[in-house]
């Protein structure tokens, strides 16, 4: 089932058009990766999906309702968002930060599940042992995982993640993507902005590729992440090797690496 649906959306930041005529349906039970070079509009599209940014043209619906008609609190029960910036102003404990993810459910029957949701989210992101530490004293990677735990604890049907793997080591990158996979298997709709194409190739059910504000391709990873397409969009020669039927994208290094195969 479609959760968030954008149709013919155009959006601007600071007077510059950064999205042009984008249409995309986010489906329950799948991991959708948004990929593209820097400045392609991935984070902007995520902001539109999250309801942070009002598009100038087009419509955004969540569970069939116009996103503009929803209050912040209603929206918070439908979707959760992990942003790139995850600073916390005061030295809250890790546990308190994860608890904040439960706040949309305050004074609802779901609040009975607070404890379980927090425990599960902290276990899934491997931060249970950090619970009594101060958030401000954590390393960048630990902060990213705690923030992800907060987002998971929110237990929304649609989960939007903006570069969740950016500051993580290899193992935790895989863990985060496995978390995303598990969420989708449990029925959630997961949208992930990724720079690492191999991660997208390995874990996403569907890849949407943006280029200069336009959605130029969407479909299974093997179709979207071909050597030819990727080379063209990024201006860099790449080769694709397959691992268990999943594409792994590698730059071709050495001579002629910057020459495009036309």
């Amino acid at each position: 089932m479609t959760t968030i649906s954008v149709k013919h959306v155009a959006a601007s930041l600071g007077g510059t058009r950064v999205l042009e005529s984008v249409s995309l349906d986010v489906q329950e039970g799948e991991v959708l990766a948004l990929v593209g070079p820097n400045g392609a509009g991935k984070s902007t599209l995520l902001a539109v999906l999250a309801g942070d940014l009002r598009p100038e043209l087009g419509t955004v619906t969540i569970d069939g309702r116009d996103i503009r008609q929803l209050h912040q609190l209603e929206l918070a029960r439908l979707r959760s968002v992990l942003t790139q910036q995850n600073a916390v102003s005061f030295s809250f404990l890790v546990r308190q930060v994860v608890e904040m993810g439960r706040s949309p459910w305050e004074r609802t029957p779901q609040a009975d599940g607070d404890e379980a949701a927090i425990e599960d989210a902290m276990a899934a992101t491997d931060v249970t042992g950090l619970d009594a530490r101060h958030y401000t004293a954590l390393s960048g990677g630990e902060k990213a995982r705690v923030s992800l735990a907060r987002v998971l604890a929110q237990q929304a049907r649609t989960v939007l993640l903006d570069e969740p793997t950016a500051s993580l080591d290899l193992r935790h990158q895989e863990d985060v993507m496995r978390n995303a996979r598990e969420l989708a298997t449990a029925g959630a709709a997961v949208v992930v902005v990724l720079h690492d194409l191999s991660l997208a190739g390995a874990w996403a059910d569907r890849v949407a590729r943006l280029s200069e504000g336009r959605l130029v391709a969407q479909g299974p990873a093997r179709e979207v992440l071909t050597a030819e397409r990727v080379s063209e969009v990024y201006g860099l020669r790449v080769e694709i090797i397959e691992q268990q039927g999943r594409p792994v994208i590698l730059p071709v290094r050495g001579t002629n690496s910057l020459t495009l195969k036309q």
């Binding site: 209050h71 912040q72 609190l73 968002v81 942003t83 809250f92 308190q96 706040s103 949309p104």
Partner: protein
């Protein structure tokens, strides 16, 4: 974190209660006219309708207590609470522990508003005129600081302080101008405003400040959970269902109201809103509901002792309390700045 949260909270509550009660009793006893503890308790019991033999027989003692000392004590509690809560709320919406009504110029804005009323003899609202003008001045200053110093939902220390310098400079210059054009009587009042004092508090004024402090503290406590979420940054708070714009505007009005009420009757008393929430945060952590509630009591306690110092450090003289709090708060602020710089590796 060897000591669990509830234990720390209880320890803080008991500590604050002891300090507060001790301060109140001491303030009632100490002064030019010596009063015994028995007379204080007796007098309060008699006022509550319980006749007793401890109550003072000397009408001078009775009137000293009820006309001079008690209103001053209650005013101190209310002003301290109002300023400390205003500080905690301000720090929450600026996402910066260095925001404080005195430092960023809200107090001087409020003082300028009050001073304009005094010098021009404005009395369009009777006894409330000064308070309303102080509120308006404080609100204007808060709005200016807020909208000038924020970028991407956060306020950098440098921007905050530079804005504070500008607003304080303007407020100070405005006060100086009024001092220049005002007559002798209003000049004396203006100097009182600049230095801050609890001297000459009257019950009518006390009631206004107490009312504002209590309502303000309750509202701030009710918003406490939302302030916690705001610590995640504006965008993330919104993602968790907080109506950030409404919270911001409401909080700015709240800060202006609390600061305005305090400044209108007691002048500029800086750094209370900085020192108190900071110490409470160190004791029980940054969670805003307990922080704001404890700050209200802590602010009251600090004020009582500061006022006690103001009345007794120099025999026979009543020092301006704002001067005292700045003497203590200034170095404290400097230390906070130094620490913030060391931790973040720069003035961010």
């Amino acid at each position: 974190m060897a000591v669990p949260g509830p234990v720390r909270g209880a320890a803080l509550a008991i500590g604050l209660a002891v300090v507060l009660v001790a301060g109140v009793i001491l303030s009632a006893l100490v002064g030019q006219l010596p009063v015994t503890p028995a007379e204080v308790i007796g007098s309060i019991l008699r006022a509550a309708g319980i006749q007793n033999s401890w109550a003072p027989h000397d009408p001078i003692i009775e009137s000293t207590l009820w006309v001079v000392r008690f209103p001053r004590i209650v005013m101190g509690l209310a002003v301290g609470a109002a300023l400390a809560v205003a500080g905690a709320v301000m720090q929450a919406i600026f996402g910066n522990p260095l925001a404080e009504p005195g430092v960023v110029g809200v107090s001087s804005g409020a003082a300028l508003g009050a001073a304009i009323g005094i010098v021009l003899g404005l009395s369009f609202l009777g006894g409330w005129s000064t308070a309303v003008l102080a509120f308006a001045g404080g609100l204007l200053a808060t709005l200016i600081v807020y909208f000038v110093s924020r970028a991407n939902g956060r306020t950098e220390v440098v921007t905050l302080l530079l804005t504070g310098i500008a607003v304080n400079a303007f407020g100070g210059a405005g006060l100086a101008l009024l001092l220049f054009v005002g007559n002798t009587a209003s000049r004396e009042q203006l100097i009182f405003w600049q230095l801050g004092s609890l001297n000459g508090s009257r019950w009518g004024e006390v009631a206004i400040v107490v009312g504002v402090a209590i309502v303000g503290t309750i509202v701030a406590c009710l918003l406490g959970r939302r302030y916690d979420l705001l610590a995640l940054g504006e965008r993330s708070a919104r993602h968790l269902g907080v109506n950030v714009e409404a919270l911001r505007i409401g909080s700015i009005v709240l800060v202006a109201l609390l600061t305005g009420a305090a400044v209108a009757f007691c002048g500029i008393i800086a750094f209370v809103g900085l020192v108190v929430p900071h110490i409470i945060r160190l004791a029980i952590g940054p969670s805003h509901r307990p922080l704001i509630l404890a700050s209200a009591f802590g602010g009251g306690a600090l004020m009582i002792f500061a006022d006690l110092g103001a009345r007794t450090i120099v025999p026979g003289a009543d020092l301006p309390i704002g001067m005292l709090t700045s003497l203590i708060g200034g170095p404290f602020f400097f230390w906070l700045l130094f620490r913030a710089r060391r931790q973040s590796g720069g003035w961010a």
